[in-house]
Amino acid sequence: MKTYTPSSAHEMGIRMVHQELAVFENMTVAENVYPDFKEKKNGFLDRKRLNEKTQEQLNLFGLKTIRPSAPMASVTLGGQQMVEILRCIAAHPKVLILDEPTSGLNDSEAELLMGILRRLKSEGLTILYISHRLNEIMQISDRVTIMRDGQYVTTLDNGPELTEADLINNMVGRDLSDSLYSIKQSGHRQEEALLEVKGLQKKNSLNPADLTLYRGEVVGVFGLEGSGVVKLSRMMYGLERREGGEVLVKDRVVKPLTPRAMTDRKVMYLNNNRKMAGLLLDMPVTDNVSLPILKKVSGKGGMINFKQLQQISTEFIQKFSIALPSLTTRPRNLSGGNQQKVMLSACLAPEPEIVIVNEPTRGIDVGAKAEIHSFLLDLAANGVGIIVFSSEMPELMKLCDRILVMRSNSIVGEVPSSEFSEQTIMRYAAVDENE
């Protein structure tokens, strides 16, 4: 094989259901199932036959609510996911790869899918099933391969003696003797509520969520991909539309809930992607830091006080020991760790009382990581309330007084620091207790 591309994989009989939906909303359901349908009748595309073939497929899998001629745009997300899976199956592949196929499905749809896969398996199809959901893995697989942080860990036979705990142990299993990851001894007393989230929700993306953050407290939120963590984080800062619920800062409802209203109430937000939304990569560091405090450093007549601005930037640079050739250096030329520190400086420059940080140390070196951690802990000690959204459990256990765990768009558990362990947290995040 010379080059391996999607079309060469197609030719070899490999079909993949992608995590991100690859559907055509502007076409009908039937055209989505058979995008390469060519049969003609009297010289015209035989739509009747196309719809019949699709109906057969739909019947085969008991999908009664979806009509072949319906526009794909009118089908629910779960239905679209099923249609995409049907498209792969209808091509009679030799190998079927499914990447988190149940992420968009509700429980009964997921159940249906499990049935379909079991039948295909019995018909001799080889299936590679990628999922975070342990109960699905336990149900459907013959063998389980576990990966962690981009590395192969092990492959286990799924026999009667295999338990979810075995999987979890292999999924976590990080060496915690590293001093970078000590577990926080929390002595925090929950006295003064700074931020309250009440019943924040949106259909299909977040079930009603409640959260209270107290002065000087660090609350962590953990969840595997697709568990609704990102939605919660964005929605509570007004970055995304919500369908219900409210956010209170110091007992007063934020209305309207917009990022602007949140910054006005001294709540700052650190984005998880410094390149896409966080830094002005080609503007000097001082400009990056000054962005949220332009008003503060402007005198009468709206002129910016550049002296004061430099002073503030310099303070942060020293506090964080950011390695900078000069204040006019552009973040693009800095290391990931230094970029992250610049971003955090901008976030903290307005002297917020509440900080929401997302993946504060993703992709940066160990030294910078430790510095940022100790800085966040200092902030909390000085009375700032911090919410940390992170996919790194050790980081959360080091920083937080308690950790909320999300699964399937809901907050499913709260773990106090006295009970911190990766197993406990992973159990909430990956195992459905109802199953």
């Binding site: 197609h10 690859a22 055509f24 502007n26 015209f44 595309l45 997300l77 259909k203």
Partner: protein
């Protein structure tokens, strides 16, 4: 009721309804709307524009567009004169002019799909280049006067009361309807325009489809240029002025979308018919022509807002956003 609902939901419904309303209005207003002279001028207006709009519609379905068709049309007109002065026979003239259109289209397609330049920048550049080239040639043909009678016949010859160019338009309408409806390549326009990434994953050749659509668009613009200049009977430097905008507006009114994935050949014709009827109405009812642009602009906004709003509502109902 079911049938009525289905018709209303069709992409072409808005443009068809607008056309019907204008025809009704012009009929009620009396006067010369149904006179032979007026119908002839309407045809001569609609046919070349619609022929070009087919190409624009293909591109819109793919999620692209072409601003250079106006200069290609102009170039076609001037080249026709140039070749006439060189004494070439008419079939050779037409063939060469069409080839020039294909070359323009290929260049656009190459820039957009192979080099990967944004369609706006690429086709503005080629529009300027085409216009510059046309103006360079213009000096050599401005004194030519009238085309030969047999060339003029291309524009004003009739069959069963319709101009030849109207027949060409109708033939293309049928052909392109079949192309978009029943051929794999035609269908692939909708797949690629609907979801580029997914189409690639499914093994569609996105680049080739885009290149093809731009080439056909250039060819059609040149064809429209020949027919239109033959109807005018002598070369003019004003041929095709702003017609790229007319075509884009017509296609959007006719059910196309800049987001790609939708549109039809019939929609292109209905959209162009609407635009021509608007002009006709302002002339016949002696309305201030300045208001025409304002009204067309308002209708365009209304069409797009309505479309976007109904989409948004649908997506919210399903909880997709």
């Amino acid at each position: 009721m079911e049938a009525v609902n289905r018709i209303i939901k069709k992409n072409e419904f808005i443009s068809a309804a607008l056309c019907a309303a204008l025809v009704l209005l012009l009929t009620v207003a009396g006067g010369v709307f149904w006179s032979r002279g007026n119908l002839d001028s309407l045809q001569a207006n609609i046919a070349p524009t619609a022929i070009m709009a087919f190409g624009m519609m293909f591109l819109l379905i793919l999620g692209y567009f072409d601003l250079s068709i106006s200069s290609t049309m102009l170039l076609a007109g001037i080249l026709s004169a140039k070749f006439t002065m060189m004494g070439l026979p008419i079939p050779a003239i037409v063939l060469l002019v069409l080839l020039a259109g294909v070359a323009m289209g290929l260049l656009n397609g190459f820039l957009v799909s192979v080099v990967g330049i944004n369609a706006l920048i690429a086709t503005i550049s080629t529009q300027y280049m085409g216009y510059g080239l046309a103006m360079t040639l213009w000096d050599g043909v401005r004194g030519m006067g009238r085309f030969s009678d047999s060339f003029v016949a291309l524009g004003s010859g009739k069959f069963l009361g319709l101009y030849w160019m109207t027949w060409v338009m109708l033939l293309l309408l049928a052909g392109f309807w079949y192309f978009l409806h029943s051929t794999p390549t035609g269908r692939s326009l909708y797949f690629v325009g609907g979801n580029r990434e997914a189409a690639k994953l499914m093994g569609f050749n996105n680049r080739r489809v885009v290149l093809l659509a731009y080439t056909v668009t250039g060819l059609l613009a040149a064809l429209a240029g020949v027919l239109a200049v033959a109807r005018i009977e002598s070369p003019t430097q004003y041929l095709g002025e702003n017609i790229h905008m007319t075509c884009m507006i017509a296609c959007v009114v006719g059910g196309g979308s800049f987001a790609g994935g939708k549109g039809s050949a019939l929609g292109a014709v209905l959209g162009v018919t609407f635009m021509s009827l608007m002009t006709n109405m302002f002339t016949l009812l002696k309305l201030k022509p300045q208001f025409q642009n304002i009204i067309v602009g308002l209708i365009l906004i209304a069409v797009i807002v309505l479309d976007g709003w109904s989409n948004l509502k649908k997506m919210r109902e399903q909880g997709k956003i």
